[in-house]
Amino acid sequence: MNDEHRSGGVPVAIEIAITRKSFRSASGFGNDVLADIAFRLETGTITAITAPSGAGKTTLLKIIAGLDRDFDGRLDSSARRVGFVFQEPRLIPWRSVFDNLRIAAPATPTSELDALLGTFHLEQHRHHYPHELSLGLARRVAIARAFVVHPDLLLLDEPFVSLDERLVNELRQELIALVEANRITTLLATHDIAEAVRIAERMIVLDGHPTRVVADHPLREPRNERSDTFVSRAADAIRSRRRLV
């Protein structure tokens, strides 16, 4: 909490340094999943973490959210409100879409909740229950819920996986607009490198056993100027570098 102003006056929201994170298996042996992962997230930027499936991205996000404190290392976080979009939407099944938002931020006026439903095109689903929604709609509600708490840290765990491309494009635009408007420090975990290149200002590539940081790329091209060719070229470059490790 003492790192509000470091490195030449640039405010640092989150600084994470994991020396080791292991899970104990049923037979009692420790299994290291993460090692030597250290980076910091600058305020108001979108950082993408890419790693193969099953490499511990979700574990890393939980540590950064403060949900898992059982690791060697340290977490300096000045984030007071965390918006977490889990890989499965994790909505409350017995509460309506509207109530799911309201329960996350009880003090929010109804007009603001309705505005947020509008932003994510969910007005017609206000009174629906989560099991009545498609996966794409449920994801939207989960993302809306993450914004309703006015997060200063937004964590997204594979938010676009198994959605069709048109929906992904739409959802990505909405997400970027909201993050930029509110200067929210954002961390996006994905296994899709091209996806990460489209959305992020910085990419951290994780790989290996146990998983560690193998590359850390800034993406300086402004987001709206990233053409499809740029995206595929950048993604190829990152993929080929990963193979060298």
């Binding site: 939980k62 959210a65 949900l67 409100r81 965390v82 918006g83 977490f84 889990f86 499965e88 994790r90 409350i92 099944p93 017995w94 509460r95 109530d99 329960i103 996350a104 009880p106 009174h127 629906h128 229950y129 099991h131 009545e132 819920r145 708490v149």
Partner: protein, 247 residues
């Protein structure tokens, strides 16, 4: 509702046939029992005894449910507490109702408090076991979500825990009501001067099968009403969100 009525009608026919076969003194016919109910109701004895039993059932049930839900939830959530309390629970589950009742009367006298307390202690371990099952089955993914979004304790209880425990609560309620009233009768026959159990005890000494059935059926009717108008609506409410097409 129609099926329920038809099923009850079939039971009445079966009963009438059996009464013809074995004779009125062993098994009085439905009409005889109905007359008996009317006579007891007319004298005021029926209302007096039903009221006494119902009050005991309500008190013992409320006591056992409150303590049982709290203990069961704590045991379901805390493995340490569960390890310590589990042997006690097994002991209580297997202690015969009669032993608890007799001991309560010996230790605390033939009092109302001893009677209600003994019934509550009999019902308590069932509630604990049922609610513990529910508390163990709470969805860890939702729990993690609530921690990420820093839900208040009250929000967590109201929107996550209670809705997930509601079906288990309904089971505890349903099994609890019938168990409680059966044990209340034993308590009454052994040491209370009123109630359905007391009335049946008196009728037993006179081999008055008609009165025994009159009291038993009157009370079953009351329980049926509670089941239909209290327990079932509660269960429906608890599972309402599952049903599609509400809009």
């Amino acid at each position: 509702m129609i099926w329920r009525a038809a099923s009850l009608a079939a039971l009445l026919i079966l009963w009438q046939t059996a009464a013809w076969l074995v004779g009125e003194s062993s098994l009085p016919s439905p009409a005889t029992v109905a007359l008996e109910i009317m006579r007891e109701a007319g004298s005021g004895a029926l209302a007096h005894n039903l009221g006494a039993t119902l009050a005991r059932v309500a008190a013992a049930f409320a006591l056992a449910m409150t303590a049982g839900v709290a203990t069961g939830y704590a045991m379901g959530r805390s493995p340490g507490f569960d390890r310590v309390a589990d042997p006690w629970l097994i002991l209580l589950l297997n202690l015969p109702a009669l032993v608890i009742i007799v001991l309560a009367y010996i230790w605390f006298g033939l009092t109302e408090a001893a009677a209600i307390g003994a019934v509550a202690i009999n019902k308590f371990p069932n509630t604990v076991a049922t609610i513990r099952e529910g508390a163990r089955a709470l969805d860890p993914a939702l729990d993690e979500m609530s921690r990420a979004f820093t839900f208040s304790r009250w929000t967590r209880m109201r929107h996550l825990v209670i809705p997930q425990l509601a079906p288990y609560f309904a089971v505890a309620m349903r099994t609890g009501l019938s168990l409680t009233w059966k044990i209340v009768l034993v308590v009454e026959i052994l040491g209370r001067p009123n109630g359905v159990g007391f009335a049946i005890g008196t009728a037993f000494q006179l081999f008055d099968v008609g009165r025994i059935l009159a009291y038993a059926l009157s009370f079953v009717a009351i329980m049926l009403v509670i089941e239909t108008w209290v327990v079932q609506p509660f269960e429906r409410r608890a599972s309402q969100w599952r049903r599609p097409g509400r809009n």
